[in-house]
């Protein structure tokens, strides 16, 4: 079993090493022109913090994250509850529908959504036009900031709901049926039963899923990046992830980008610490 421990060190060592490299980002805070980087102290941070654009991007990301996570949680939980209310056939149909969406690689589904939202031949414009909304004929969805994020939200929610629905459904099926029967005999309404039995019992699942959603939605990258390329205006639609990418690899400002990464990391770690604390409290390691 000695080799096991050796590999254990290797498996842990590499991620830890990455962590160490991360901390070297302090050292990467110098502009790099092929010469050894020089120490500039906190200059990069000062530049970033005093740059109003960064704050715009952060506020935009946080808003996007909250809206998306909230919609995803509500829709996902509603679908999970719906699964418990219907017969076997409809439930399987719904589960298969969600699974297909979940299993689809992000790039492939983004490509399809671009096609659906295509200004000239997209089904969505065709549908809206046929419903009598003539202003959508040839409407371009990605030019306007608000409608760009609406499209992004539709896509992100479509992708993320299945995970929430299945996790919450798994939690719901563990609630003993006798509880509901007893409550029904006591004359409670369906809403009361949901509030007082279901919610408390699936709360741990809801909590964890919600946190994961927030973390994922905060660092949303691929969706935004691809939509920007498909016709969004970059400056108006950057979120943290794409901002760092364009700053670092687009403009070669590795120092600034590394400093901006730290904002994201700190934000995420702050959230995760709470999650880890909840976990530690709930399980004996």
């Amino acid at each position: 079993m000695v080799p096991a421990l050796a590999v254990l060190v290797a498996a842990l060592g590499y991620p830890l090493y990455r962590q160490a490299v991360m901390s070297f980002q302090e050292y990467g805070l110098a502009q790099q022109f092929g010469q050894p980087p020089e120490w500039v102290g906190l200059d990069n941070y000062v530049t970033l913090v005093t740059d109003s654009y960064l704050w715009t991007v952060i506020v935009r990301s946080v808003l996007f994250c909250i809206v998306n996570a909230a919609i995803t949680m509500v829709v996902g939980t509603a679908l999970a509850v719906l699964m418990t209310l219907v017969g076997r056939g409809p439930r399987l149909t719904l589960q298969i529908g969600l699974l297909l969406a979940w299993a689809m690689p992000h790039l492939a589904s983004l490509t399809v959504w671009q096609w659906l939202f295509d200004s000239q031949y997209g089904v969505i414009n065709w549908l809206l036009t046929n419903l009598g909304l003539d202003q959508f004929a040839g409407h371009s969805w990605l030019i306007d900031q608000l409608s760009f994020f609406t499209v992004a939200t539709v896509i992100v929610v479509w992708m993320s709901v299945p995970f929430v629905a299945f996790s919450v459904y798994a939690g719901l099926t563990q609630v003993p049926g006798e509880l509901y029967e007893a409550a029904e005999i006591d004359g409670s309404t369906a809403w009361q039963r949901f509030r007082q039995i279901t919610v408390p019992l699936v709360k741990p699942v809801l909590l964890i899923v919600a946190l994961l959603q927030i973390i994922w939605d905060l660092k949303v990258f691929t969706q935004i990046f691809v939509l920007q390329d498909a016709g969004g205006i970059t400056a108006e639609t950057n979120l943290i992830g794409t901002y760092i990418y364009r700053l670092g690899l687009g403009e070669g400002e590795f120092g600034l980008a590394a400093a901006a990464s730290w904002f994201v990391l700190l934000l995420t770690v702050a959230l995760s610490l709470y999650y880890v604390r909840v976990l530690v409290r709930e399980e004996e390691l």
């Binding site: 079993m1 080799p3 096991a4 421990l5 590999v7 254990l8 498996a11 842990l12 590499y14 991620p15 990467g28 719906l82 219907v86 017969g87 056939g89 409809p90 149909t93 719904l94 298969i96 529908g97 969600l98 297909l100 969406a101 299993a103 689809m104 690689p105 790039l107 492939a108 490509t111 399809v112 671009q114 096609w115 659906l116 295509d118 031949y121 089904v123 065709w126 709901v161 996790s167 798994a170 699942v205 990258f221 691929t222 498909a230 760092i244 990418y245 670092g248 690899l249 590795f254 590394a258 990464s261 994201v264 995420t268 770690v269 995760s272 880890v276 976990l279 709930e282 399980e283 390691l285």
Partner: protein, 279 residues
């Protein structure tokens, strides 16, 4: 109306709602398949065609004429390396975590958890610099390294659940029957762990196969593209002209993975939920 019929009517109403939602959710997937079989003149028509009755597979031919197969090779290599290495590491780590009490075990589990929470997007600048320093940009090895580091924490987490599910008494009984430790392990524990290994392997496969951001950062040369990158460049160059080809490309990237996913999703979800809730 008795309560029973009322319940049944309600169930039926909800059933209809569920099926409608399911159809809406499936639509993009259906649309991808449908569009990929349409001939040129039908895809750019005033009204969309909803069923590929006069379908053609010509679009697939156009995809195969591009550099699809070179890309497939890169993706397959990176994914293969990632799956094998991640399983090996995670397997030994999970075993050690659940079978031995050692110093620092608890903090190790915590570290695994915390690493899992770190967003790749916050790291790619330093990873880019790191690989640049090691001359590993645009290399399969470099990208695989990053992928392994990305999936190992979660695979450890998943496997740990499976190892915990193998009762120790079984191993001990085997020892009593005169097996050596290694024999006991290979004859008893390993077969029982097989489903867990398959599930974790598929998880690693899906992650590596679908990953976009890191490969965008690391694989900057066209000949080193992975499939998601290829799909994007293919889309970029054909957006005006060939949606059928783009959809065919999407089908080729998506469908194999979706089949895989459907086979193991149940294990993945239950692994995640039990890992997250029960530990």
């Amino acid at each position: 109306m008795s309560t029973r019929t009322r319940v049944r009517t309600r169930q039926r109403t909800f059933g209809v709602v569920a099926v409608v939602i399911a159809l809406i959710w499936m639509f993009p997937v259906y649309w991808m398949l449908n569009s990929s079989f349409l001939p040129y003149n039908r895809i750019r028509a005033a009204d969309p065609t909803f069923f590929p009755l006069d379908g053609t597979a010509a679009a697939y031919g156009r995809v195969f004429d591009s550099n699809f197969f070179d890309t497939l090779r890169v993706s397959a290599t990176v994914t293969g390396i990632t799956v094998v290495a991640a399983l090996l590491f995670a397997f030994f780590a999970a075993l050690a975590l659940s079978r031995f009490r050692f110093k620092g075990r608890r903090s190790f589990i915590l570290a695994v958890l915390i690493i899992q929470m770190i967003p790749a997007e916050g790291l790619f600048i330093s990873q880019f610099k790191l690989l640049e320093g090691w001359q590993l940009l645009n290399s399969v090895i470099g990208l695989s390294l990053l992928y392994i580091a990305a999936v190992v924490p979660f695979t450890i987490w998943m496997l740990r659940g499976f190892v915990n599910g193998v009762p120790r008494d079984l191993e001990e009984a085997a020892l009593v029957d005169g097996c050596s430790r290694l024999q006991a392990f290979f004859r008893i524990t390993l077969p029982l762990l097989a489903p867990g290994l398959v599930a974790s392997g598929v998880y690693a496969f899906l992650q590596a196969w679908n990953e976009f951001t890191l490969s965008l950062v690391i694989m900057t040369r066209p000949e080193n593209m992975t499939l998601p990158l290829w799909l994007r460049s293919f889309t970029e160059s054909n957006r005006i002209s060939d949606w059928a080809g783009i959809m065919a490309g999407s089908v080729l990237v998506a469908v194999p993975v979706m089949i895989f996913f459907l086979l193991v999703q149940h294990r993945m979800t239950s692994g995640l939920v039990s890992g997250a809730v029960k530990g």
